[in-house]
């Protein structure tokens, strides 16, 4: 009777196991739910259509953490930015074993490698971009963003053209900043629309960003969302393509050679980077859900869309070819929000 009343509870330990990520596949970074600590990493091999789930936990024997925001793969190593665990883990991209970690962040979002010994880490709730030395796994300095308060601080995705890194300031912000990688300082700021959510460079050396327009009754403002094209040389807006008020465009990305732009706005849309106007019809129509993540395979142009369903169960990934033909669909982890190609 004592054993019936007593200890059958277990806070499980997970023994590490051998993981192998074959081929040139796709890591899926699943955010999990804020404050649940249930972020996870998956790997999909397009050649075999096999999915491996929870590979970080299974390879290392401990949890990935709370809200895995993004991942960058460089030189056989994957750098996973775990936003609410305040850490970036580096793993071997072949076996997912940890090789090191960088701690000490406020709330990291994305990592951009300037060189082998310097990377920038954007953050939220901080008006500074951290400068890290990936070889020594430590923060070496900060880039302060001018005219930005800590409490509403936000720097997000980064794109490098030449010696300059451009970064969109997202939450409660409206700017693109230009950083000189030689001096690690912000040298210019460009005001765009309310809340630029993502940032890419196209084949023609132009920058593109989608501003989501804020939300109704926001004290920060509410306007028609728009797609902006920016000339990095003059650092000014060249063109502005407006959506409809109330639209929710997000997840701007390009194909491998940068000639086409893709984004989500209920449906999946695509446009040639040289096009003079927004398309009239979507490439892939919505399934009546909110698509949460999008990426395009730089090698073959396959499109991956993430459906987070209700954000409390494993999300589903749909894989299309560049002509919008469905090739595969599979389940990943909770709230799949980002992708990284191996």
């Amino acid at each position: 009777m004592v054993s019936a009343l007593a200890s059958c509870m277990k806070w499980d330990y997970v023994d590490p196991e051998e993981i192998q990520t074959d081929g040139h596949g796709l890591f899926i970074i699943n955010e999990g739910n804020f404050q649940y600590g249930n972020a996870s990493l998956c790997y999909y091999d397009p050649a075999t259509k096999e999915v491996q789930t929870e590979i970080f936990l299974r390879a290392n024997g401990f949890k990935l953490g709370d809200v895995a925001q993004s991942m960058t793969v460089r030189d056989g190593r994957g750098w996973i930015v775990v936003n609410n665990s305040h850490v970036i883990f580096a793993i071997d991209a072949d076996n997912c074993r940890e090789t090191g970690r960088i701690e000490g962040f406020t709330s990291p979002r994305y990592i951009h490698f300037v060189s082998d010994d310097k990377a920038y880490v954007s953050q939220i709730w901080d008006n500074r971009i951290a400068i890290v030395d990936p070889r020594r796994y430590e923060i070496t300095g900060y880039i302060e963003v001018p005219d930005m308060a800590m409490a509403s601080g936000s720097t997000e995705q980064m794109v490098q053209i030449g010696q300059y890194v451009y970064c969109n300031c997202f939450s409660y912000q409206n700017r693109i900043i230009k950083i000189d990688t030689a001096t690690d300082r912000v040298v210019a700021s460009l005001t765009v629309g309310i809340q630029p959510q993502s940032l890419v460079a196209d084949a023609y050396g132009k920058l593109w960003t989608i501003c989501n327009g804020g939300f109704e009754d926001s004290p920060y403002g509410y306007e028609t969302p728009a797609l902006y094209r920016i000339d990095p040389q003059t650092f000014s807006v060249e063109a502005k393509f407006e959506f409809a008020l109330g639209d929710n465009p997000s997840e701007l990305c390009t194909n491998g050679d940068g000639t086409r732009l893709f984004w989500l706005n209920d449906d999946l849309w695509q446009m040639a980077a040289s096009a003079p106007r927004l398309p009239f019809t979507p490439l892939i129509e919505s399934r009546g859900t909110i698509y949460y993540g999008l990426t395009v395979d730089p090698a073959c142009g396959d499109i991956y869309i993430a459906d987070a369903i209700d954000y409390q169960q494993p999300g589903k990934i749909y894989r299309y070819d560049s002509h919008a033909r469905l090739l595969d669909e599979f389940y990943a982890g909770i709230t799949p929000g980002a992708f990284a190609f191996k």
């Binding site: 401990f62 090789t99 900060y142 809340q195 989500l264 209700d310 954000y311 494993p314």
Partner: protein, 676 residues
């Protein structure tokens, strides 16, 4: 042995011997079903006795509910947010009243039971499902009815209890009472504090051991301390009652709370920066009441009150590890509530009919500033809302007891929130004596119920949805109970109730593509099951009494809505964080002035995913928890002493009850009480 020492021993033995002469607890009397109270025809109610409420001063109502009912209480330690799932519903589907005043937060729609010290409650009961309709609307799961009583011995009396526990925890309780024929005054004060920095082995994290070239050569799970889990809570309750000996009773209740709680970090947090993550609250709840009852076949109760709540949430981090802190979030919310309630009951002369009517009004005024931002032109802007809303609720009922075996009751309730009226809320109850031998009774009820969205649901910035519909529920239940015993030998009672509820337009907060959450009416839930209770008291010997009290609830709560997308696997599955089975058991052995209490609670595994998948990252195995309390009373001439030793997490379990929240191992608290 020296004479002086011998004298001391003799005195001690005398004290112990005399102590055995004081009245010990005796077997409860078995209720004989004659004329049953008409107010409770067909009602399914669980009453918490004073032993459960006054067990030790460190307990909150969350602990009382966990170990004395079949309700699932979700919390992650002392002074953490503690919410309930009553019959498989959400925390905002359980209404909570205190002396007639609804104390659910008008912003969130739910109650944090860790903020209610159990020593501040004199009577507490659960009204399950439909049984709540007579008192209030919106109780799709049920009602937790709390109240204080003018219960004090004649003259001046005082009680002080000091608790000293693990992790530098201190609990202090003081009560001063005065009572004579007309006046009763009671003052209660509680102060609790703890850094709450218990140690635990972190299964979710690993620390690396590096060689000189920064290669990882080893890893281990670190032993860590619970960080940012400190709490300080001060509660004061002042009550004054006046009885004019002519059927009128006036009452004043004023409850002040000053609480300061840090929010602990997750097991998966690698931050090494100084930070402050803290919630502070000041609340004053006052109720003024007048009741009239001269036993003439009618009675009335009119009460009114005022509640003020100020909530502050601050999140600060040091810039660059240590040093001055930068403010990340500074959130301030202010709630003013004006409340009024009137009730009347009238019996027919033959006492076969009882007609009741009650009406209540809560005017809530909420000013919530969620976040301070600085716009790019340097101006301050506030993200939040400033809204008022009146909630009216009124009911009439007719109860009929044609004979001593049968009773029936109809309740019709109408509610209004803001300017929206809910459809009529009807409820029908019936009960009957099946057999006088064994006091076997059957009861059944059916009702329709509605819950209005909370102010945050409608106006939270960003994401609030003013177009939300009310959640609605249809429920019915049927049960049987018995009560047998033999005077001074044993008393045994039990009940089994089956219930079935359908809740539509369940409000769920879902992320949007703009990066924030927004509520929608999306779910349809079928919550059903069986609740069982049993109580046994046995007088083993004239000075030895055994009490056992158990509850077991089986509560499947299933998503019956449409799939949100073609990929949705949640339809037909159990709701997240609602266990299918919850159980509790308390066993108390009282021998003269000694008592031994064993408490046990169990929840079946909880799914953290709506699809009920059980991954390595997100599953919670079944929960079993045992606590014991050993007590000793000593009565001196004018003073009573009471010693208690509480041992929590008796088997030193290494566990989680909420994902990524560490829990303490075995811990102790010693209480020393003195009463005059």
């Amino acid at each position: 042995m020296r004479p002086y020492t011998l004298k001391l021993c003799l005195i001690f033995l005398c004290i112990v011997h005399c102590a055995s002469c004081i009245a010990q607890r005796s077997l409860r009397e078995v209720t004989v079903i004659g004329r049953r109270p008409m107010r409770e025809i067909g009602v399914q109610k669980t009453r918490f006795d004073s032993l459960a409420l006054k067990e030790n001063v460190a307990l909150s109502m969350a602990d009382v509910l966990t170990y004395n009912s079949g309700i699932f209480v979700k919390s992650y330690g002392r002074a953490t947010l503690s919410t309930v799932a009553f019959r498989g519903t959400s925390p905002s589907h359980t209404q909570v009243t205190w002396n007639g005043l609804n104390i659910n937060s008008p912003m969130l729609g739910m109650t944090d039971f860790s903020t209610i010290p159990s020593y501040f409650v004199d009577n507490a009961s659960l009204l399950h499902g439909s049984s709540s309709v007579g008192e209030t609307g919106g109780g799709l799961g049920g009602l937790v009815r709390l109240g204080t009583a003018a219960d004090a011995p004649d003259g001046f009396h005082g009680q002080y209890v000091q608790g000293i526990g693990s992790f530098s925890t201190f609990d202090e309780y003081l009560r001063l009472t005065f009572h004579n024929e007309r006046w009763t005054s009671s003052t209660r004060v509680v102060y609790s504090s703890s850094p709450n920095d218990y140690k635990y082995t972190n299964h979710d994290k690993k620390v690396n051991i590096y060689d000189d070239n920064h290669n990882i050569v080893g890893q281990y799970h670190p032993t860590e301390r619970n960080v940012s889990g400190a709490f300080k809570g001060f509660h004061a309750l002042q009550e004054v009652y006046y009885d004019d000996q002519n059927g009128n009773r006036l009452g004043l209740n004023a409850w002040y709370i000053n609480s300061n709680r840090e929010l602990p970090i997750l097991t998966t947090d690698y931050a090494d920066t100084d930070f402050d993550n803290r919630q502070r609250e000041q609340t004053l709840r006052t109720v003024l009441s007048w009741g009239h009852n001269r036993g003439r076949g009618w009675n009335t109760d009119i009460r009114g009150g005022y509640v003020y709540t100020a909530l502050a949430y601050d999140y600060k981090r040091a810039v660059g590890g240590e040093g001055p802190m930068a403010v990340m979030t500074r959130s301030r919310s202010y709630v003013n509530t004006f409340f009024g309630r009137a009730e009347g009951n009238i019996y027919t002369r033959d006492r076969r009919w009882l007609f009741t009517a009650n009406i209540s009004a809560h005017q809530n005024l909420v000013r919530a500033h969620d976040k301070n931002i600085v716009t790019t032109d340097g101006n301050d802007a506030i993200v939040g809302y400033d809204k008022g809303r009146i909630d009216l609720s009124g009911a009439v009922s007719a109860k009929w007891q044609p004979n001593s075996r049968l009773g029936m009751s109809v309740v019709l309730r109408r509610e209004m929130s803001g300017t929206k009226w809910a459809p009529i809320i009807p409820a029908f109850f019936i009960d009957g004596v099946i057999s006088r031998k064994g006091n076997v009774m059957a009861r059944a009820s059916v009702s329709r119920n509605y819950r209005f969205p909370s102010l945050n649901d409608m106006y939270f910035m960003p994401g609030g949805n003013p177009d939300l519909k009310s959640e609605s529920g249809f429920s019915y239940d049927a049960g049987i109970s018995f009560d047998i015993g033999r005077s001074h030998v044993y008393a045994l009672s039990g009940s089994v109730t089956w219930f079935d509820s359908y809740i539509d337009d369940w409000i769920l907060w879902l992320p949007t593509t703009k990066g924030f959450f927004s509520p929608r009416n999306v779910k349809e839930v079928h919550a059903y099951g069986i609740e069982t209770k049993a109580e046994l008291s046995v007088q083993l010997r004239s000075d030895l009494l055994l009490d056992l009290n158990g509850s077991l609830s089986w509560t499947p709560s299933v998503n019956r809505g449409e799939p949100m997308t073609e990929a949705d696997k949640s339809v037909g599955k159990q709701l997240p964080y609602v266990p299918r089975t919850s159980a509790s058991l308390t066993g108390r052995l009282t021998w003269r002035t000694w008592s031994f209490l064993y408490k046990w609670a169990h929840y079946s595994r909880r799914f953290t995913m709506s699809s009920n998948e059980s991954t390595l990252t997100g599953h919670l195995p079944p929960y079993y928890m045992s606590n014991i309390v050993l007590g000793k009373k000593i009565a001196l001439r004018n003073v009573g002493l009471d010693f208690k030793l509480a041992v929590n997490n008796l088997f030193n379990e290494d566990y989680l009850s909420v994902l990524s929240r560490p829990m303490p191992g075995i811990n102790f608290e010693l209480f020393i009480g003195i009463s005059i």
